[in-house]
């Protein structure tokens, strides 16, 4: 986690009280940490099909698979986020998303958890001054009921 965000918890707790529009995030785990992506951007959650490795591909690309005729590039999300932990979970799922340039990308996550609804108060967005040391993939931090969710910017994650 420290790899991605070095935000002081007390600063996050100091957010105001007003409530804004609600955004839905799908949360999942990578290792011990909880991440979220905007639900509307996820087309499908897949049980991992056989993945064909592509020789010479970037190290964070596991290969390609086919989802009912659609060729999907399978990305090891832990590798893309440069997390140290690279173990594969038995409950792994693939989150299918379409990248801005039209590529079907499958993100491998350890375990899918739930959908959380966050108001603006529950979020601290990177653009709103979360601090300089945030990975380009991070949208912000979500804190529903004291939890700590790293919200990912799906667009930049799938573009790599």
């Amino acid at each position: 986690m420290a790899d991605l965000v070095k935000a002081a918890p007390e600063r996050l707790a100091r957010r105001g009280q007003s409530r804004g529009p609600v955004r839905e995030f799908l949360t999942f785990t990578l290792g011990a940490d909880v991440f979220g992506v905007e639900l509307a951007r996820i087309k499908e959650i897949l049980i991992p099909p056989p993945v064909t490795a592509v020789p010479r591909a970037p190290t964070d690309v596991l290969g390609v698979c086919s989802v009912r005729g659609l060729l999907v590039t399978v990305v090891d999300l832990k590798a893309r986020l440069r997390l140290a932990d690279r173990t594969r979970s038995r409950r792994a799922r693939i989150l299918l998303a379409i990248s801005p340039n039209g590529e079907a990308v499958g993100l491998v996550v350890d375990e899918v958890r739930q959908v959380v609804r966050l108001t603006e108060d529950d979020m601290e967005l990177a653009s709103a001054g979360l601090g300089g040391e945030v990975s380009e993939f991070v949208l912000g931090i979500g804190r529903p009921q004291g939890e700590f969710i790293v919200l990912l910017d799906l667009g930049s994650v799938v573009t790599g």
């Binding site: 592509v54 020789p55 591909a57 970037p58 086919s66 590039t73 340039n101 590529e103």
Partner: protein, 697 residues
Amino acid sequence: MADPTDKARDEFLSEAQEIVETLSRNLLDLDTSVRAGSADPGLVNEAFRAVHTLKGLAGLFGAGRLGHLSHRLEDLLDDLRLGRMTLAPEVLDVLFSAVDAYARLLAMAREGSDEPVPAVEELLARLDTLAQHAPGKASPSSDYDLDPGLLAVLTEYEEHRLRANLEQKLGLYRLRVEFDLATIDKALEDLKERAKRHGEIITYLPAGEATSPDAIELDLLMASRDDLATLIGSLGADNVVIEELPRRRSVAGSIAPRGTTGRIPQQQGGESAAPVRAGEASLDQGPSLRSLTQTVRVDIRKLDNLMNVVGELAIVRGMLARLAERLRAEGERRTAADLLRLHRSFDRRLAEMQAGILEVRMVPLGQVFERLARVVRQIGREMGKDIRLVITGAETEIDKLIVEELSDPLMHMIRNAIDHGIEAAARRLEVGKPIAGTIALNAYQKGNHVMIEVEDDGRGIDGDAVVEKAVRLGKLSAEDASELGREEILALVFLPGLSTRGTVDDVSGRGVGMDIVKTNIGRLGGIIDVQSEPGIGTKMTITLPITLAIVSALMVDVAGHTFAIPLSTVSEALSLDAGGTRLLDGREVITLRGTTLPLCRLERVLKLTRPPGQPAAHRNYVVVVSLGNRRLGLVLDHLVGQQDIVIKPLGRSLSTVRGFAGATELGDQRVGLVIDAAAIVDEVLAQSEHREAPVHG
């Protein structure tokens, strides 16, 4: 789906494109007929109609410049068809440049650009000049003895044709023909075609005396140099009655419609009368709302989608077969048999569907050949060379996508042939060749491939000059050069920067060479070869797959991975015993029928990791891939078999990965990668400088 206005605009653009292509075809025919001695009035009229339709379309879509150009051209063609101006070669030149101007304007409309186009301005200026030189409009003459009732129903053009024919002292005939309404379009065309031998059909009008509601009777006014007996012998039939019209008498009674004033009598009802004179109707009475063709235009991506669905169904088919097998194994023999029957029927229908979709994608090569015919004419005139273009096999069909990509490479080859190949007239006379150089464009199908040959009867390729240039450019050492055979020397023309002429000229220079042609053909899964005899000519042969949608591939295993190699690049496969190779300059090679074949171990070049428990095979296979004149043996573990595959491109994040043309479904939910043989050959043979230490299998 797309915004409806976008869709309408696309429709407009593709329709306009088609009309321009038709116009181009007409002009080429017209060129031929002018050379043969006289301009075919029918062709001038068709060109006029094409431009007229374009003008209408442009008006509907607010394409101002297109409309303006069409308007001016229409005036010119109108003068031509009404005999106010003669069709001189300069006028044809202007018309041909109009085709190019249209292409330019359409391309710009597609991009939504409205920058000024100098070529169009120039063309308009030339049209102005021509218009000024045109004689004043001839007044409609009535110095021949025809009933004014008939003259009233003739269009200006028809009147002109009637007059022209009478001036030539031809006889006038009336053909009363009963047509079946269902087949009238074709039957009328047939009749016109047959009548052409004897003269010209000037006009046709419904007579309104059909014997059944499904039929229509037409009176055709025809001018002919032949006598009545000949016409009856040639055109007469049960439904055709032919009469000669006396020249000095009023013909109105016999030829004019029963209705006294209307051009088209309404006895049959507007519906049935409309198709009869559809061409004129759209010309004189505004565009008809009814579409006259039975065809639809389809975006090729929609066909790709359908093909993907077929691919998915093929997977379902595989699962059905496996389910049937399982049932049989479990003792459910009857159900298994039923299921297998279903599977077979499904299989057949699926194959039909696949063939049907492929058929829709196919278009005749004639489409691109016509464009080339225009280029030949243009370049020939520019260079002052008389060129005869001979086309065979224009009806050969190939995938639409391939046709689109073919026109540039072919155009370049033809430019080369005219510029470098065909000698100047004086030189041709000297060596005893006919002054007109011949360029032959031949297409034919050979198995699953289409062959296209571009052949000229020019001076042939000067091998010494090619070698000298290659050495000068550092592509070849002088020692190596001395060892090359004729075939290898000719293959040098495909190297970048090799053009046997020193100067960059307007026609075929510009730094684009045969290497680009070769790359473009390679991208289509095709190969190009060259044969040339000094003094006799040069022949370039392109071999292309018929379709890009479905590719026959050889499925192979390497280190536990399954790959597909498109058969279009495979020349043969052979087995290779361990230790059957030798080293040449640090590269692993074998000797195949007397020649040295460099090898490439896919396992190493792709850095594949062999799954545990899969030891390297004792015996390997070599798949020989050839691209043009370059050959490479790919060493692999097993040949799995041949399969028709649908290639899907890899995603953008894999666009930097070299060596794969895409991926394909293997049928058991797995995906296999498709080897890009061209890329591997390039990569491996280019590595010659830093060779790796060989490993013996």
